[in-house]
Subunit: 205 residues, 3 copies
Amino acid sequence: MFEITLVQVFDFIGTLAFAISGIRLASAKHFDLFGAYVVGVTTAIGGGTMRDVLLGQSPFWMSNSFYLICSAIALAWVIIFRKLLVRQNNTWFLFDTIGLALFTVTGVEKTITAGFPFWTAIIMGTLTGAGGGVLRDVFINEEPLIFRKEIYALACVLGGIAYFICARCGLSTVPSGIICGIVVFLMRILAVKYRLHLPTLKGEE
Amino acid sequence: MFEITLVQVFDFIGTLAFAISGIRLASAKHFDLFGAYVVGVTTAIGGGTMRDVLLGQSPFWMSNSFYLICSAIALAWVIIFRKLLVRQNNTWFLFDTIGLALFTVTGVEKTITAGFPFWTAIIMGTLTGAGGGVLRDVFINEEPLIFRKEIYALACVLGGIAYFICARCGLSTVPSGIICGIVVFLMRILAVKYRLHLPTLKGEE
Amino acid sequence: MFEITLVQVFDFIGTLAFAISGIRLASAKHFDLFGAYVVGVTTAIGGGTMRDVLLGQSPFWMSNSFYLICSAIALAWVIIFRKLLVRQNNTWFLFDTIGLALFTVTGVEKTITAGFPFWTAIIMGTLTGAGGGVLRDVFINEEPLIFRKEIYALACVLGGIAYFICARCGLSTVPSGIICGIVVFLMRILAVKYRLHLPTLKGEE
């Protein structure tokens, strides 16, 4: 019982944080309230939607209004606490990272359950975690941030690999998922704390 | 018999208007004829395609060449009447609005038939009506227009809500659909006539 | 046996060339290594993925790691031979064109096998060949190149029409596919050699 609740709490604050990141970037581009909401929703559910479409399943939010309501709360939050958002940056970063970790685990598990190989599950975990942010940046007409800044999607990949190793060592779903999530979470925290970047390719001659 | 024909007429002029809006924006960006056609087709069928993919159905245009032929007619129209298009703006706005209304109704009905809840149907109606325009703007590398200009997608949402209320009041599919379409149509006309905008979020501090 | 091997060789060098085109453009935009890999993979498998989603099938790369490994080889190639890439341009253009031809044939055949009409198969062939490049340009936030430069996607369309004519004339799958591929290949070579452009629409007045 407690466990389910904890996952739900993480799901809520992760969705909230993803939606808020979309709404803030959309409003920086002077989108109207509806546009900001759409970008927020897309950031929150876009990765999981692409995953479900690729897996041939019905998108998770189509029979559960939870995610759209979360995004509406995110919009209200941005409107009400507009002037305090910058001061809340550390909290939102933390929540965003929790979301990244949880969504990665969800993506990995759903793909394994659907019977695909492990490397596909790692891709799907990464897509679930980082795909929404890419769609967000396409919508607001910017180059995807995650391809140029601190390690982000790579944290999901490493988490997926950790899941794979755990499963290979005989661990069951729950501990494998927890370890996967912790790896994503720590990698992302460390990446931002120590400004870990991947190298960029040097120009051609 | 007459009724079916009227829906088909609306479908034709709506598809034509959507395709023309894509072709005009693509040619303003100096896309070639093929690129302009692709953007026109995408504007016309993009929303319905995303809806069908999310519903797990085969996209409507894959077994009916009507929509691709409409888009070809739209391309021919833009080539032939190039110099008159600006003068036809009111007509195309009217046709575009008819398309918006019809596509919204189609999206709502198809989603309800597929067994999803009403709020999903409202989203799918909005996606069917407004999604093609978003894809168009992504292709021509602009921020989606509908997120910054007069009320557009919100008209679809209101139409969807009207459908829901009608159905709750016991009305059957046809009158519910007609009322839904009229609400979308009127909202959009009023939005442009009185320049109704949604507020934008004020900047952070 | 030889035939299968030849198709596989073409598949390999086509995937490699597509991925390299994505990686080069991504690194010109200062994406990091992970971002460059993602753009490379997207260019290589994006068209076929959209085709499979529209056909309601499981994307081809989800149960075959070949394409992701190819893209990793492409990334290694760009890193190692960075300074020689410009001198290899003719080779990569040739490989890219082989990929374009093969992917078109694959798309046409898969769609016919799925039971859709021929004009849908032509669209799907074109999407398979040219769709990855469009996704690539959306990701790197540029207007899609294929809509403004030398004839590219139109070569796929003509190849698809050639396939249709062959099939109508009673040819079986293998010769129809070969002729389709040759038409795409030659059209693209000729288009670049003689700088064949489609006209652009003149501006409105």
